[in-house]
């Protein structure tokens, strides 16, 4: 039986930056199950990032409900939402966003540190993930000493090391060259397959779209197509 990870009903978000309302997300229904490898695609301004922010609890919808792990996150207070994000959702950003003063190992363990997971358990998990993605020799390197691809891999380890319900990645390959992007996708696919991590990522990159198993196309804040990739 498939386990529901995200169940979003009727969610809408309107921005009004200059007096003209923009319906960034318009009455969207979304259902994601464990182990999915889903791409959100669409032209710029189609609402991909807004949708990711809403299901990631970084922003609140104007209408609708988002149920994650049996919790309606739209009903949570700000403080509860922060705690919920920490325990349930992993984030990967377009521009890596590693903390420059921490080593790769410390960056990767950052969420687990916030979750107060014991040091030995943390180190074991990080070592295993670094081994898995071929970054064992970069454990103690600072972000400035890593390539873009390596930094993004560390960011992905950071997002999934604490076993979140799902990982949201906003254009994870946008700042990488094609080889690094391909490597990153290999890594994400491998972790998705082996660790049953649910990935939802927004992208423009056709090579990335081709590797997603499910592709949701957004246009003007609405889901135009939701297709299984063969």
């Amino acid at each position: 039986m498939e386990t529901t990870v995200i169940d979003a009903h009727n969610i809408s978000k309107t921005y009004d930056p200059s007096g003209i309302p923009v319906h960034a997300v318009n009455n969207v229904h979304l259902h994601l199950t464990k182990g999915e490898f889903t791409a959100l695609v669409g032209p710029s301004g189609s609402g991909k990032t807004t949708l990711l922010n809403l299901i990631g609890g970084l922003d609140r919808p104007d209408t609708g409900n988002i149920i994650i792990n049996q919790t309606d996150i739209t009903k949570l207070t700000n403080r509860e939402l922060v705690r919920f994000r920490l325990q349930n959702i992993g984030f990967v950003f377009q521009s890596f966003n590693l903390i420059p003063v921490l080593t790769a190992k410390e960056n990767a363990a950052f969420i687990m540190m916030l979750q107060k997971i014991p040091k030995t358990k943390r180190e074991e998990r990080i070592q295993a993930l670094f081994d898995e993605v071929g970054l064992s020799d970069k454990l103690n390197a600072r972000p400035a000493k890593l390539s873009g691809g390596q930094q993004q891999r560390v960011a992905i380890i950071r997002a999934l090391a604490s076993h979140p319900q799902f990982v949201l990645a906003d254009e994870p390959t946008a700042n990488l060259d094609s080889a690094a992007a391909s490597n990153l996708m290999d890594m994400m696919e491998k972790l998705n397959r082996e660790e049953q991590i649910t990935f939802v990522f927004s992208t423009h990159d056709q090579r990335v779209i081709d590797r997603a198993r499910r592709v949701i196309r957004l246009v003007d804040g609405k889901i135009e197509a939701d297709i299984e990739n063969k």
Binding site: V82, R85, L86, I89, I99, P100, V101, I111, L114, R158
Partner: protein, 405 residues
């Protein structure tokens, strides 16, 4: 534990900037300690000069003597009163004096003078009579000899071993007259005292003024760490309502006012210093918050609580300020002790003005531990208050908006 580690790493994110900030705080702490030490040292020295040269920290009189300083307003100091006062913590010495005016006459010269009868043994460590003698010797108990200041001696053309006749009004209207041999000449810093202060043993003074067993004042010298006001309160409980107990500031309000005014001016200089330190710390915090706005947004997105992020920033500013304050205190220690042992000597008109008031023209520093502690704590508290800025910025930070910047 780990917010401390993260703060520590953040502090060294930009080594040069941290070093500049720490140095600025250290320099300001050093200047602040120096200014405060000089202020305490200079005014402590002035007060010491005032009290040790004449008044003492506290005086006991018969009620009304301060307003009408005549021999009629004198009183008998009982041995038990003196003993009880001397037993008060902080009291070093209590000595009786009998003061009155007399006309001094020698040959064809006469001059109005203030005659003070002193308890010789006590006053040697109080007014430092021995140190003020420039010629001759001090007076012996029970001898009819006196010490005259050099100004008076010059004006009346007096020499050692000359005889001076003192004529005045004694206790209860009796006439006072006596012949006294000049055993020594004194030099006082104060021109007023140098012109007219004649010193003799209290026994001789009582005999001259017909005031057997009574005194006009009981002058009390305190440990410099004691507060004259609180000791005066304790003395009042011993002396009762028939006596007035006054601090040196109440006895000499003009000098107290002068010291307070100067001290107030130096306080303003210190406030300017604090403002400069504050600006230095604040500009660093401003840059720190602005350049890490995006990163802070990201940390909040990841699930770090605002409270924890505030802790990190608070620790960063506190550690930076603490490092600077400690460094400043360490630098100031040897300088302060050097200036205490080798005080700055002033010259020119300022020195002359100091001498005129009877003060030694030096600027020593005080090395009272409270100065170091107070300045260190002040800078730290300032850092703590200024840290409210990043705390407020984080409290109002919207993760997504700051990520977009």
């Amino acid at each position: 534990m780990w917010p401390i580690q993260l703060s520590w790493k953040n502090i060294w994110r930009n080594k040069n900037r941290t070093l500049v900030t720490v140095s600025a705080v250290a320099f300001a702490t050093f200047i602040s300690v120096l200014a405060s030490g000089l202020k305490e040292g200079i005014f402590g020295n002035l007060i010491h000069d005032v009290v040790s040269s004449y008044s003492g920290h506290v005086q006991v009189h018969l009620k009304g003597y301060q307003d009408e300083q005549v021999i009629e307003n004198s009183f008998a100091v009982s041995p038990s009163m003196k003993q009880e006062i001397q037993a008060i913590p902080g009291v070093i010495l209590a000595t009786e004096r009998l003061e009155s005016f007399a006309l001094a006459s020698s040959g064809e010269n006469t001059k109005g003078c203030l005659v003070i009868g002193i308890e010789k043994a006590e006053e040697s460590s109080f007014m430092n009579i021995g140190g003020k003698i420039i010629a001759g010797r001090t007076v012996a108990e029970n001898e009819k000899s006196i010490l005259v200041p050099e100004g008076l001696a010059k004006r009346m053309k007096l020499q050692l071993q000359d005889t001076l006749i003192l004529i005045g009004q004694g206790y209860h209207g009796a006439s006072a007259a006596g012949k006294y041999v000049i055993s020594g000449m004194l030099r006082f810093g104060s021109p007023k005292m140098n012109e007219r202060l004649i010193i003799m043993p209290i026994g001789s003074a009582r005999e001259l003024f017909g005031a057997e067993g009574i005194s006009t004042s009981l002058a009390i010298l305190l440990d410099p760490r004691s507060r004259p006001e609180s000791v005066a309160e304790k003395i009042k409980t011993i002396t009762g309502e028939n006596h007035e107990v006054l601090t040196w500031g109440e006895i000499m309000p003009d000098i107290k006012q002068h010291i307070d005014a100067d001290s107030g001016n130096m306080q303003y200089v210190q406030y300017i210093l604090y403002a400069l330190v504050g600006l230095g710390i604040f500009s660093t915090l401003l840059i720190m918050v602005a350049e890490r706005s995006r990163e802070n947004g990201m940390l909040l997105c990841l699930g770090m609580s605002k409270r924890m992020l505030q802790q990190v920033f608070l620790l960063e500013s506190l550690i930076t300020v603490l490092l600077g304050a400690l460094m400043g205190l360490l630098i100031s220690l040897p300088v302060m002790f050097y200036l205490k042992w080798h005080p700055l000597r002033i010259s020119g008109t300022t020195a002359e003005a100091y001498k005129k008031f009877g003060f030694e023209p030096i600027f020593p520093t005080s090395t009272d531990p409270s100065i170091f502690l107070k300045q260190g704590v002040t800078v730290l508290v300032m850092g703590l208050i200024l840290s409210l800025y990043p705390i407020w910025r984080i409290a109002t930070l919207h993760p997504l908006s700051s990520m977009k910047k």
